[in-house]
């Protein structure tokens, strides 16, 4: 079902947990909420679920204004960040509870519980109590309880954060498959960017209760709309360098260290929007910096800091003035590099952000 959040505000005392949130989610769309701890992700989910009252704004599900409706009338399923499994019920009863409340017969319930539990590899734990499970097992029970009933909207609050890498991939695949198959609109909170990239149709990046950018995973990765998103998305994130640009002569002067770049002829358009001598931030992803032995017009000097072999790719960290820059090289062998290197910036993939942090375009 479609889901619309319109100008949603929610404050706890002085803390603006959600501040002017606008989002329109299409039917069957999978949205990932990404952002640092405390930025209001859980609060946003709780607002959709009806567990928090709004200070301002509207929540619309399937074309119906549900702002004033209690949670039980919204037909929503949610995985809580702290699981919230009922300690006095067996795992079967925990997972089957949403079905029981809706009056599904015991036999029906049991077969659906068994199916979901099997998919999440907790089928052998059904007789136990939550206190007898590990953290990761409890988390999968919480996921099972949410998806056992096909609600109008799924809300996941970091549902896989406690699983090991392998289980996580399998659970992720199951959720994605289920969501595709049943076509349920989903909002998924995660700290794991790879997970957000893998699952989401669109990613919403939040900071301090506000939306910083909404877009497809590729858009967000390729064209961060501001320095916050640039420094948050990507592992390692985008390199950001303070500089001023002399647009007339196509010269970039860095604040960090005396270094000047004379732009190549064909890439002048990237600096068209920069005002002359304005303080701006240059952003470039680690994969678009290459290491040269000799200086050229588009290089800046760097001192080798550390080399990490990540298996399949090499991460070089170099010092430029006071700042550390990451450079990604796609090769298997750890290269032999001199102390003094020259960092060549690929100006087809450089962004400029204004003093307010917004992308200049």
């Amino acid at each position: 079902m479609t889901l619309i959040l319109e100008n949603v505000h929610k404050a706890f005392g002085a803390v603006k947990a959600v501040n002017g949130f606008n989002l329109s989610v299409a039917d069957g769309e999978f949205i990932a909420l990404l952002g640092p701890s405390g930025c209001g992700k859980t609060t946003t989910l709780r607002i959709i679920a009806g567990l928090e009252t709004l200070d301002e704004g509207r929540v619309v599900i399937a074309g119906k204004d549900v702002t004033e409706l209690p949670p039980r009338d919204r037909d929503i399923a949610m995985v809580f960040q702290d699981y919230a499994l009922y300690p006095h019920m067996s795992i079967t009863d925990n997972i089957g509870y949403p079905l029981k409340v809706r009056g599904v017969s015991k036999a029906d319930r049991d077969s659906r519980v068994a199916a979901v539990a099997g998919n999440l590899q907790i089928g052998n734990l059904l007789e136990r109590r939550p206190s007898q499970l590990s953290g990761g097992q409890q988390q999968r029970v919480a996921v099972a309880r949410a998806v056992v009933h096909h609600a109008q909207v799924f809300l996941f609050d970091e549902p896989l954060s406690n699983l090991d890498a392998k289980l996580r991939l399998e659970a992720r695949a199951f959720l994605k498959h289920l969501q595709r198959e049943v076509g349920i609109t989903s909002i998924y909170v995660t700290h794991d960017q790879a997970e957000a990239m893998a699952l989401a149709d669109r990613i919403v990046v939040m900071q301090s209760g506000e939306i910083m950018q909404v877009g497809s995973p590729l858009e967000i990765y390729r064209r961060p709309a501001n320095t916050f998103v640039a420094s948050f998305i990507g592992n390692p994130p985008m390199n950001l360098l303070q500089c001023t640009v002399d647009t007339g002569q196509s010269i970039i002067q860095f604040a960090e260290e005396l270094a000047i770049i004379r732009l190549p002829e064909n890439s002048h358009n990237t600096i068209m929007n920069v005002k002359p001598h304005e303080q701006v931030t240059l952003g470039i992803r680690p994969e678009y910096i290459s290491i040269r032995a000799e200086p050229s017009a588009t290089t800046i000097p760097g001192k080798l800091y550390v080399i990490q072999n990540l298996g399949g790719e090499i991460l070089v960290i170099a010092r430029f003035g006071e700042q550390l820059l990451s450079i990604r090289m796609f090769q298997e062998e750890t290269p032999e590099l001199p102390e003094q290197v020259w960092l060549d910036l690929d100006f087809d993939h450089v962004f400029f952000y204004g003093a307010n942090g917004q992308l200049l375009q």
Partner: protein, 276 residues
């Protein structure tokens, strides 16, 4: 392990302890043996001639038996159920409602508990029950008992409700549960140990209360066992010790049995908090 030498003080403390223990045990021993003795005195003695006759005589008194088997059961049960239900609802409201000044409120609750059924308030209570037309009814007694027990009961149950994380209820709400379903399926089972404590405690209080039923009930056939003891006293006020002893045993057994049953079936807990 090294053997520890007892100091003189430790020995003395031990001896004093034993003496105190004996002092407390003697009445219990009397209580166990006396009803079966055909010639009871106030001293503890193992019966020479074992007899059940005291019980037979006690059973033959209609006031005593009605008191024990009917009236005490009604008053005790009513007080138990009423206190537990009202305390659960009140504690839930107080815990979840985020009352301002809640700490003070709960402290005042505790203070009130000793006032309401105290001897000092007997006249106002009598007048109140009288004007409600509940004199000589079990309901009147039950209401007064509940009123007296509620403050402390609420105080205890609040702790249990506080121990139930909100997210359990929120999860159930999202699953589609309304307020009553939610209470039945989630909150009630989780605070049940607390309600058991409060319920049994209310029962024991009602079972043992003398003053309230004595003042509010007129008809001898309506008085509970605690008051019915009086039929074993002669008009001058001298007790028939044999019968009093036998009746006392009968009077005690149901409460002990109930305690054991509940403890075995559900277990008691005197503070909130949930094993996860």
């Amino acid at each position: 392990m090294k053997k520890r030498k007892l100091t003189l003080t430790q020995i003395l403390v031990g001896i004093v302890g034993v003496i105190i223990a004996i002092l407390f045990t003697l009445p219990m021993l009397w209580f166990v043996f006396a009803p079966f003795n055909s010639s009871v005195s106030l001293s503890v003695a193992i019966p020479e001639r074992f007899t059940l006759e005291n019980f037979v005589v006690a059973f033959s008194s209609e006031v005593a038996m009605r008191g024990l088997l009917v009236n005490s059961v009604i008053i005790g049960g009513g007080t138990m159920v009423g206190t537990a239900i009202i305390a659960a609802m009140a504690a839930y409201g107080i815990s979840r409602g985020n009352l301002p000044g809640r700490q003070i409120f709960t402290t005042v609750l505790i203070l009130f508990s000793s006032v309401v059924t105290g001897t000092a308030s007997m006249i106002p209570i009598f007048l109140l029950i009288f004007s409600l037309g509940l004199i000589d009814t079990h309901l009147g007694v039950i209401l007064v008992m509940i009123g007296g027990l509620l403050p402390a009961a609420i105080f205890i149950v609040i702790d249990f409700v506080d121990g139930v994380p909100r997210s359990y209820e929120e999860a159930a709400m999202i699953s589609g549960a309304g307020p009553l379903t939610l209470f039945r399926d989630i909150t009630f089972p989780l605070i049940r140990p607390g309600l058991m404590v409060v319920g049994i405690w209310a029962l024991v209080n009602a079972w043992g209360s003398f003053l309230t039923p004595f003042i509010l009930l007129r008809d001898p056939l309506k008085v509970p066992a605690s008051v019915a003891f009086y039929v074993f006293y002669d008009p001058e006020g001298t007790p028939n010790i044999k019968l009093v002893a036998a009746y006392a045993v009968l009077y005690t057994i149901p409460v002990v049995l109930l305690y054991l049953l509940v403890n075995w079936r559900y277990g008691f807990s005197f503070f909130g908090g949930i094993k996860r």
